[in-house]
């Protein structure tokens, strides 16, 4: 059972994007950082455990040519071995900051060279993999940035091909050992998933085809890929084989966000947030799922959802037009 905790007010409402909430837990400092995209700006704020907001900062996408200020598509904290960087993806390019958003350490302008006039150009999908940060783009290419232990000497080391439609989300986890080398999954607007092995050069291991709807959100944990789709379904795949093991008719509208560890959190435009318990069958070791809890965020198209602690006992959500972060914790 979960109960509704005190909400954290936002200066601006959340935009109707997917994966529109990033959370950075800092247990040593008893703080949690939240990042939400409003539109042309993103808001970062830090809060104490009871949800009391302590500090906030607003970041903007770098200006450029165009009719209106460029829109941000995603904001996400990347936890690397020696540092944490905050990454902002927009319609102009990719901005990387120190984790508190105080200093910009790197700017990469998107190359719109081969875009037709009708294609929107943007970056979307952000994840850290070892000492790399991977960011997806409108063309389907995934940019891999090599991040030094400190300083601004960030280098674009690789561009991964594998997708033909805009990237929606990227998920990573530390490699699980000899039998499972898959440590990154990329998803796109056609619903295609690509499974990769990271390294000085990334290797494409498997492709999991889509079925006519976008896959806006993907997670990877202990060799399990959780993918949320535009038709409200959540699929669980074995990362090594790419086999589908669980299909959940989870929501009545498009999924907008997923989080995983150790429970699975799914949020959608149908106003619902669900929590699922994952396990492996003792006989077959196939992935199994049971539903734990459902929460209705009344009249709100949920656009972001994250667990706020590593045990999954609390989570936060953002919604379109909602100027606050709603928090829930288990009783």
């Amino acid at each position: 059972m979960f109960r509704w905790e005190r909400s954290i007010p936002l200066r601006g409402s959340a935009a109707a994007l997917c994966n529109n909430l990033s959370v950075l837990q800092l247990p040593a400092r008893n703080l949690t950082h939240f990042g939400v995209v409003h539109g042309p700006s993103a808001q970062l704020l830090s809060a104490a455990p009871e949800g009391v907001p302590l500090a906030q900062r607003q970041l903007h996408a770098k200006e450029g040519a165009g009719v209106s200020p460029p829109l941000i598509t995603q904001v996400h904290w990347c936890v690397l071995p020696f540092r944490v960087l905050l990454v902002l993806a927009s319609h102009r390019g990719i901005q990387m900051y120190e984790s508190d958003g105080s200093t910009m350490v790197y700017w990469h302008a998107l190359d719109s060279g081969d875009a037709t006039p009708v294609q929107a150009v943007f970056a979307r999908g952000i994840a850290a993999s070892g000492h790399f940060i991977c960011v997806g783009t409108w063309s389907g290419r995934v940019l891999v940035f090599d991040i030094p232990a400190k300083g601004p000497n960030i280098v674009l080391s690789e561009e991964l091909a594998g997708h033909q439609t805009p990237i929606t989300d990227i998920a990573t986890e530390p490699a699980q050992g000899q039998d499972c080398v898959a440590d990154m999954v990329t998803a796109d607007d056609s619903g295609l998933l690509c499974v990769w092995q990271s390294g000085p050069e990334f290797t494409l291991l498997t492709r999991i085809p889509g079925f006519g709807v976008p896959c806006p959100s993907v997670q990877l944990w202990q060799g399990i890929i959780a993918a949320g789709y535009g038709n409200g379904q959540v699929h669980l795949y074995e990362a090594t084989t790419g086999n589908l093991h669980v299909q959940i008719n989870a929501h009545a509208r498009a999924i907008s966000a997923l989080d995983l560890a150790p429970e699975l959190l799914s949020a959608a435009e149908d106003t619902f947030v669900h929590i699922w318990k994952l396990s492996r069958s003792p006989e077959s070791s196939y992935i199994e799922v049971e539903h734990c809890h459902g929460e209705c965020v009344s009249d709100t198209q949920v656009c972001g959802a994250r667990f706020c602690d590593s045990s999954g006992s609390s989570f936060a959500v953002t919604g379109y037009d909602l100027a606050e972060i709603r928090r829930f914790s288990s009783v």
Binding site: A15, V67, P69, H245, R253, C296, T300, Y320
Partner: protein, 379 residues
Amino acid sequence: MSMRTLPLLFLNLGGEMLYILDQRLRAQHIPGDKARKVLNDIISTMFNRKFMEELFKPQELYSKKALRTIYERLAHASIMKLNQASMDKLYDLMTMAFKYQVLLCPRPKDVLLVTFNHLDTIKGFIRDSPTILQQVDETFRQLIEIYGGLSAGEFQLIRQTLLIFFQDLHIRVSMFLKDKVQNNNGRFVLPVSGPVPWGTELPGLIRMFNNKGEEVKRIEFKHGGNYVRAPKEGSFELYGDRVLKLGTNMYSLNRPVETHMSGSSKNLASWTQESIAPNPLAKEELNFLARLMGGMEIKKPSGPEPGFRLNLFTSDEEEEQAALTRPEELSHEVINIQATQDQQRSEELARIMGEFEITEQPRLNTSKGDDLLAMMDEL
């Protein structure tokens, strides 16, 4: 974000505008032939070929301010006039109605069905005018051609772009409040019952498979809603049953259309860049307006047909009162063009505007009364 959003935004807002004008023309007992002329003139201007050509070019969405200027020009394409307060109210109603329709679309692609609903009704308004009907059908075909083949992902981007355009708009509309589709805080009710979108399964089922893809286990769970299967898919052809009711004329029952200005979101003014900055983007938007309005052929009012003023409120006093009490952050001020240094562009715009023969606009005693035409006269 998506470069294909403007035609859908324009046509749906235009459709809502026509529904409201039609209702007010009847409520104000404007004679049938005059009312028909007004609607015919506006529709014919809206669907003008050159105008549609500009509209359908891939481009970013412009601001609410820039778009309002187009609708103000459209509303005055005939013998009818609107005061600023009525124009403000008209635009509020149009935007809130389409925001509601976009939010409640079951699938992102259904916004196309909403557009078709608007076009179907518009064709009903002009069924006795074959030339205008042809113009509308031409646009219909263009929509089918361009949007019929777009992927679900592209429609999702269009939907997100539209929702960003409508973000933070929470004007309360009496009719929505009465029908309980809008809450008192201005937010729309998102029902958790009814048919699921076409192509979506009913939530509540978990299926588990083995390595060969065979189902080995199946569990049900309580998902919290009360959904039923979608009956059938709406038609995306020129003619057909759209199934979806969003975008059909909700004003046909002759209901009064009031808006409440109080209780609207306090976030409005401070965060949207377009209202705090002295509009440094005016030049780009001017170019857009010049191109779009250059394609608009406004017929000069000819003959003995005298103009008349339409009131969106139930009395003149109410209209004046609304103008005086409109909250600052909601004032739909027209773009300030004093900053422009592009002499040639300004002259071209002046020439285009000069072609629009508009008889004297009654000026209300408000500082918000300046409109684009007046400013052009001063250049």
